[in-house]
Symmetry: C2
Subunit: 225 residues, 2 copies
């Protein structure tokens, strides 16, 4: 079709990586609506970013656009998916099957993106053995065995804060290097292990800050005493 764009510079900026899933989502929507080609302007609009930023982001992957035309939707979906590693199947284990763990287990957004919930683990004898989202909840004592047996490479921590570090240490010890942490604690991990954290309460606090400023901003100097 065109000159073989090489596998590209492996040094993709973090900020770009964080946006690729956004573009991918927008592109999936377009593919569903049978849109064959899209301009950086339109795609940027759909993803809620600046078009120059989008073009620069995509340029990190290679030269996949056609000047005067835009980007081929299908082709771009494939390239981004490959770059993100979504063309392979990732086995995910969820540790902690409380309210949140349960919700995550049932969340459809994972499966549709190449992620497969391969195991549920909990410490509470009350839930161990239960069937959730078609999976049997296994005991925390089996943690290491389950991870190895199922080929789990990404662990989602949905445990209480107090248990998170210990579970983290154990999964790292058996070779897991990617962790998504929902527990409200700062995990300490060795170099080479990636931890991403999602803290619902923090998001609300940030909103509250801005809300407060909006409410008090116009007139009040906000009672500093």
């Amino acid at each position: 079709m065109k000159s073989p764009s090489q596998p590209r510079d492996r040094g993709i900026p973090d900020a770009t990586v964080a946006r690729l899933p956004l573009y991918l989502r927008a592109l999936h929507g377009m593919a569903e609506r049978a849109i064959a080609t899209v301009s950086s302007e339109d795609l940027a609009m759909a993803a809620g970013v600046n078009s120059a930023k989008l073009r620069k982001d995509l340029s990190h992957l290679g030269s996949y656009g056609t000047r005067g035309v835009g980007y081929d939707v299908e082709y771009l979906v494939y390239q981004i998916s490959r770059e993100l590693g979504l063309t392979q199947d990732w086995a995910v284990a969820i540790v902690g099957v409380g309210n949140l763990g349960r919700a995550l287990a049932n969340y459809g957004g994972f499966v549709s993106r190449g992620f497969r919930v391969a195991a549920l683990v909990d410490a509470d004898p009350e839930v161990v053995g239960d069937d959730i989202a078609g999976l049997n909840v296994e005991h925390i004592d089996e943690l290491e065995a389950v991870i190895k047996r199922r080929g789990v490479s990404i662990v989602v921590l949905a445990t209480p804060a107090a248990a998170a570090q210990e579970v983290c240490d154990r999964v790292v010890a058996v070779g897991v290097t990617s962790i998504l942490n929902f527990a409200p604690v700062v995990l300490s991990v060795p170099d080479g292990v990636d931890v991403r954290k999602v803290d619902l309460s923090i998001e609300l606090q940030i909103l509250a800050f801005h809300e407060q400023r909006k409410a008090g901003g116009p007139l009040m100097a906000v009672d500093s005493q």
Copy 2:
């Protein structure tokens, strides 16, 4: 107690605001363990950040430390809480009571930080009327009425993607200016409305990217870092 702390600069960097909840959490832990005073070094350690960054962050709020000693834990908790607006009570409505909405409704981390789940709303007649976390689920037709009646100022969207924009428009129309969006869509809102988004699938995709790179590392020329 000490020199009058001036009304701090109203222009606190976003990056700083995003970290304040982190410091606050660490400080709460210390207060529980009856630690009266903490140095920037120790607090930074507990929060997982650089100590110079922490000092600079805190300096945006005012001069609340004592040279040679550190920061008074209680005092700092109060100052950060006030800055974030956590000294007041925020009424939160959760729209969409599926797996995720339910988990959020039961999540304890909200209440403990000055947030109060004041309403649950859903469109499914099957769940409307149910009692969840001590709250009655109300019908989406009542959305505007409920928001006004309960004084809701922050809305959490846990609806399916397809419904999110419409709900968003409606809550914005009745004056809500702070939204926490869990639906995998880019919301468009007028100026002055803050939207923060949490997308679980995006976090996993970012992890997958790094994991893939690590996996390919030993053989491929990846450790260019």
